[in-house]
Each structure stands twice: as C-alpha cells, then as structure tokens.
C-alpha cells in the first residue's frame, strides 16, 4: 500500500470472523498510556495530600517527594494524547473551541486547573527554601551559582518574608490547595474513566462504575510508583554512603531504617486502595455476568477465551493477587516490596490495556474479533508514535523531568 493510502489501524489489527469493514483498533498503545499516566499523576498527588490535609505524619517523608513527582508526571499525561492524534497540530483546539457535550472537551479545563493547583502548592511548600537559597548562594561567585540564585529569585516571586506568621500562612495555603487538589485529581482521573464509561457503543466500556474503578486503580498505581522511585533513590544514596564511609557506618544504617519505615507505612495505604479497586472490578464483572445482556456472549468469549491470560492471569493474578499476598506477609523487606510494587504497576498497566485494547477486541457486530499486534520496530512515524518506542518515550519522560526538577526543588533531602 502506498504511503498516502495509510489506513490507520490496518498495520496492527488482525480481524477474525465477521468484523465491519471500517473497524480497526483505532485506540492503540498511547490510549493505554494515557489513563495509565494520568492515573500516576492523580495517585502521586493524593498520596502527598494524605499528609498535607489529613496530617498523616507517617507519610511526611513521602509527601514532598510525591508532590514534586506529580509535577513531573503532569506534562506526560498530555503526551500520549498528542502522540495519538491524527492531526497533532490541531490538538490545541480542544482548549480553544471545546465542545462541551464531549467528555474529552473537559480535559483542557480540568487539566489546567489541576496544573495550577499542583504548581502553586509546590510554590508554597518550597518558598522558604527559595528564600534560604537566595541568601546562601549570595557568596557563591561561580557562574552556575549565580544562575541558580537568579532562578531562585525569579521563583520566589519577590515574597521573601520568612517570619513565623508568613511561614504559617504558607502552611495554611498548602493545606487548602491540597484539600482542593484531592477532588480535582480525582476528577481528572475519574473523567478519564468517564471518557470510556460513557461510550454506549462499546459493551465492555459502558459502565457507571468505570470512573470509580479508574480512580481507585489510579491511586494504587500512583502510590506504587512513588514508593518504587523512593526506594531507588534511597538505595542510590545508601550505595553512595557505603562507598564513602563503609558498610557499617551510622549514615547507612539511618538511611536503611528510614527507608524501611516509610515503606511499611505507605504500603498499608497501597493495600487499602488495591482492595477497593479489585472489589469494584469484580462487582462490575459479576453484574455483567448476572444480568447477561445481549453483549454478554461476546464479552464472555473475550474475557474467558481470547484475553483470558491477559485478564485473569496477568492482571488479576500476577498484577493484583500476588503482590497483595507479598505485601501482607509479615517481615516486609525492601527486596520483596520492590518486586510487589513492580507487579502492582504491571497489574494496573494490564488493567488499562485490557480496558482499552480489550474493549476493541470484539467487533460492534458481536460476530467477530480483532487482535492487536503492538508495532515494535518502527518503520514510519505512525509505528513509532503508536508503537513500543512511543510508549517507552512517554514512560521515560517523567524520570528525565524529575532529574532536572530535583536539582532546583530537592525533594529527597533528609533534613526536611
């Protein structure tokens, strides 16, 4: 087929039995990444808010980190959408000419509101730090030092008052913003669920439970990612401390203690949200089976035959049940936590996959199936964007951003 005759979806869709001629897997890997990434954003923010709003002291060390991390994830929630659009340059029209009967049209508004909340909250958390740095870097005459100082001067926005009264006001603002942020984060992700749940043409997607299921699994994945990143950074610090001072040094032991403590406490929240997510998903499944509407025949054959391994073995088994048991067995170790967290993240990813790709695994005719083959080696822009490497680009971006942002907003310092 000539390049100008590019039929979107033809490349990765394999049809079996009777599928309407125009049906292809139009929403591919990037639409799997989209709710996955927004889920991570929302989850990371909710985790930080648990400390700021509800004063969960056990999450203090995690709170600052997860807040900064949710900032890094923020631009990444938009990336997959942009990658997936057939007319990426027109993507901005969603902001300028929103058509409000569409669930997607709310994206611009919800997303910007959320971005503003996250950024202002970070500003209030870090204002004291900015002002302190301006003072500290005064004596630094190196070019890097003065550039850094100027950046902090700009970031401080001229608010250099560090009196107790002013700092107390900062704290209050953080609390309010975090409080508003929770429903907005929930809404940001819940409406991602609504985008799918409201498609009446799709028998698998259409469910009023969809937004709630999405929020729960979002929080699960957000917490898991924050925990995992925290462990990696702490391990790196420990490694550096071991190199510098030897294995038995006090700093190393202190780091180990702090790390384990934070993990045990955060894991409790992870388990709670995991239980909620699984219960809702099971409720949805049981309800569909029990009511056995017209679509149940085809849904059943997708769930129990075509996609059985992906849904029951990979998602529920390996992604939910195994880590659940691993985290519940007493005597939690870092190694076990890491494996469990990776499995949780994988499980949530599989859930997104099974919703997005699984929802297109059967024809609207209810008489045929479509199979998705993820493009691995790209041979044109389309197969890069909507292939393995496009997805990996999206997945890697928050870490690159965090590396940069952490230089200005250190979120892992033990002093704080």
């Amino acid at each position: 087929m000539t390049p100008e005759l590019f039929v979107h979806g033809l490349e990765w869709t394999e049809k079996s039995l009777y599928v309407y001629p125009n049906e292809f897997i139009y929403w591919s890997i990037q639409i799997v990444m989209y709710p996955y990434m927004t889920g991570l954003v929302a989850g990371a923010f909710v985790l930080s808010s648990l400390y700021h709003v509800f004063g969960q002291q056990d999450l203090k060390d995690m709170a600052r980190f997860s807040l900064v991390f949710s900032l890094c994830l923020l631009p990444v929630a938009m990336m997959p959408l942009q990658f997936h659009l057939q007319q990426p340059l027109r993507g901005i029209e969603v902001m300028f000419t929103p058509h409000f009967t569409s669930a997607i049209a709310a994206f611009g508004i919800v997303f910007s509101t959320y971005a503003v909340i996250v950024m202002s909250e970070i500003w209030f958390v870090y204002r004291t730090y900015f002002v302190e740095q301006i003072g500290e870097l005064k004596n630094d005459t190196s070019a890097a030092g003065s550039i850094k100082r100027w950046i902090y001067i700009i970031l401080a926005l001229g608010a250099s008052d560090l009196s107790d009264k002013a700092v107390a006001k900062d704290k209050k603002a953080v609390k309010i913003l975090a409080g508003i942020g929770i429903p907005v984060a929930g809404f940001l992700h819940g409406y991602a669920g609504f985008i799918f749940g409201s498609v009446k043409a799709n028998a698998l997607w259409m469910s009023p439970l969809m937004p709630v299921i999405f929020i729960m699994s979002a929080v699960v994945s957000g917490i898991a990612l924050c925990m995992l990143t925290y462990i990696i950074i702490m391990e790196w610090k420990k490694f550096q401390a071991v190199l510098a001072r030897g294995k038995g040094d006090e700093t190393v032991l202190l780091l180990r203690g702090v790390e384990m403590d934070v993990m045990t406490k955060t894991a409790r929240y992870l388990i709670m949200f995991l239980v909620a997510a699984i219960s809702l998903e099971m409720l949805d499944l049981i309800f569909r089976g029990y009511t056995a509407m017209k679509s149940w025949d085809i849904l059943r054959s997708v769930m129990f035959h075509e996609d059985f391994v992906k849904i029951f073995v990979l998602q529920y088994g390996l992604g939910n049940l195994v880590p659940f048991i691993m985290l519940l067995i007493p005597g939690l170790t870092i190694r076990r936590t890491v494996i469990a967290l990776c499995l949780v993240l994988f499980g949530v990813f599989m859930m997104r996959w099974n919703v997005v790709i699984g929802g297109q695994a059967f024809s609207l005719s209810f008489a045929g199936f479509m199979h998705y083959h993820l493009p691995i080696i790209p041979h044109n822009l389309e197969t890069f964007k909507e292939g393995l490497f496009g997805a990996l680009t999206v997945a890697a971006t928050p870490f690159v951003l965090f590396w940069g942002i952490n230089k200005l907003l250190p979120s892992l310092d033990l002093k704080h």
Partner: protein
C-alpha cells in the same frame, strides 16, 4: 493600602495590556461566518431519510463502487462509506457473515472466509447494504471534543475536515461502525448521504448506481415523497434500536440475524 490616581492609571494600563495578550488568540468573525455558526443550516422543511429494501439487494456492489468514486475514498483501501454484507443462515441456526472489501466487487465466491457451506444446509441467504444512519440523536456529534462533526438542519451529520483533530472518539462512539479515518486527509470520514448532491436536487451516488432500486433517499417531512410514504405505510425497521440513537435509515425485510 493607599493608591494614587497616577498609580491607579498605571496599573489599569498594565492590566489591560496583559489581558490583551491572551485575547489576541481570538478572532472576529464576519457576519456571514457568525450566521453560519448560529443559525440552522440545510434546506428548511427537509429531513433526509433513507430506505434500504433488503429483498431487492443482490449484492452486486455497484453502490460501493459508485460511492468510493463519488466521494474520493481511495478505491483499494479497505475502508468505505457504505458496504454490503452477505448473510448465510444454515439449518442449525448458525449464521455466516462476510463483506470482502465492503462488497465492492460483488459476491462471486460461494465460500465465506474460505469455508464452503453445503447448499443443502442453507435455509436462507440475503444481502444487507449499510451506510450512515444519520441518527436523530447522533452519539458521534455528542462526543466530538472540538465540534468538528455536526448535524445540519436537514438531519445529515457532516465532518469539518479543516477542524477535526483526529482523536477517533466519534469512531468509537458510533454503534454502527460507519466511521473511519480518511486514508488521505487523516481525519474522521463518514457517509454524508452525498450531501453535495442531495442539496442540489440530485440523488446520492449509491441510489443512482443501484440497478434494482434497493436504495432510496427522500424527504421524510414531505408527505408526497415516496420514501416518507414507505416509512409511514409499510413495516420498516432500524438497526440497533437499543442504543437510542434514532436512526433515519429504514430497512424493509430486516432479518433478526442482521448485526
């Protein structure tokens, strides 16, 4: 806080300038443009409707060919604005359905997906042409995030190729699978009832191409119109009524096996 007049004027000026920067993203519409945006379009007193008589269809595929040529949908691309389905139902109640290349080249092979069905097993077989139902309550229009797809005053759903962002939400929202991405323009594409023809008093390309009169288009609001009369006086059915889309393509002789 004290505020001198000079300071007040200065900040007002600054504020105005700052506010005008984002406002510059907007543009003024000409009177004709704003009228097109606010007033209803299409021929007044018209609601386009379609009749498909499945008893008359022989599956020749002339309609698909004509449509592809008329509407510049690449001939060899597997996507199409209209297509014809073949149904073969056997004694055991099983149905076999196919539509190779949308039925463009007719159905000359008795095999369905390589499977030979013994003629003595067949209890009934028929063809069903499909096209956009131009729903009264179109889900595709509802979900478009930028309003690039819209319903005209005379009931036809169209796509603005210069405004569609290509998100595919409308394709997902259509229960009938009539939408696809145009292989050349890379935006959402669908049957328009040949709006460029019907609004000039002509018939659609598929109606003109059908040698057996299986397809008819007309104005449902005109009591003298043959299509309106068929809908009013005969037993007609629509596809997938349960979605609440209120389709305006009416079928004569629709079988329960039709998907």
């Amino acid at each position: 806080m004290s505020c001198s007049r000079r300071k007040f004027l200065k900040s007002t000026l600054k504020g105005t300038l700052a506010a005008s920067v984002p406002l510059s993203a907007f543009r003024f519409l000409s009177p004709a443009e704003s009228r097109a945006a606010t007033e209803s379009t299409g021929t007044p007193g018209t609601r386009w409707g379609f009749i498909v008589d499945t008893n008359k269809c022989v599956g020749c595929g002339f309609c698909v060919k004509a449509c592809k040529k008329e509407n510049e949908v690449p001939y060899d691309a597997p996507v199409t604005r209209t297509w014809v389905e073949r149904y073969v139902v056997t004694r055991d109640g099983k149905d076999y359905i196919d539509s190779p290349m949308g039925g463009r080249d007719g159905f000359t092979d008795p095999k369905i997906r390589g499977e030979e069905i013994p003629p003595e097993e067949i209890t009934k077989a028929f063809f069903v042409p499909k096209l956009c139902n131009q729903c009264e309550n179109p889900p595709c229009v509802q979900v478009c995030p930028v309003g690039a797809t819209y319903q005209t005053g005379d009931g036809v759903v169209l796509v603005d190729r210069s405004w569609c962002i290509g998100c595919g939400y409308c394709i997902m929202a259509c229960p009938y699978g009539v939408r696809f991405f145009h292989p050349v323009y890379r935006v959402a594409e669908k049957c328009t009832f040949c709006y460029h023809r019907i609004s000039k008093g002509m018939k659609t390309a598929c109606v003109d191409a059908c040698p057996f009169g299986a397809r008819q288009i007309g104005n449902l609001l005109d009591p003298e119109d043959p299509v309106a009369q068929i809908v009013q006086t005969q037993r007609v059915a629509v596809l997938k009524d349960e979605y609440g889309t209120k389709p305006q393509v009416f079928y004569i002789g629709l079988d329960k096996n039709v998907r």
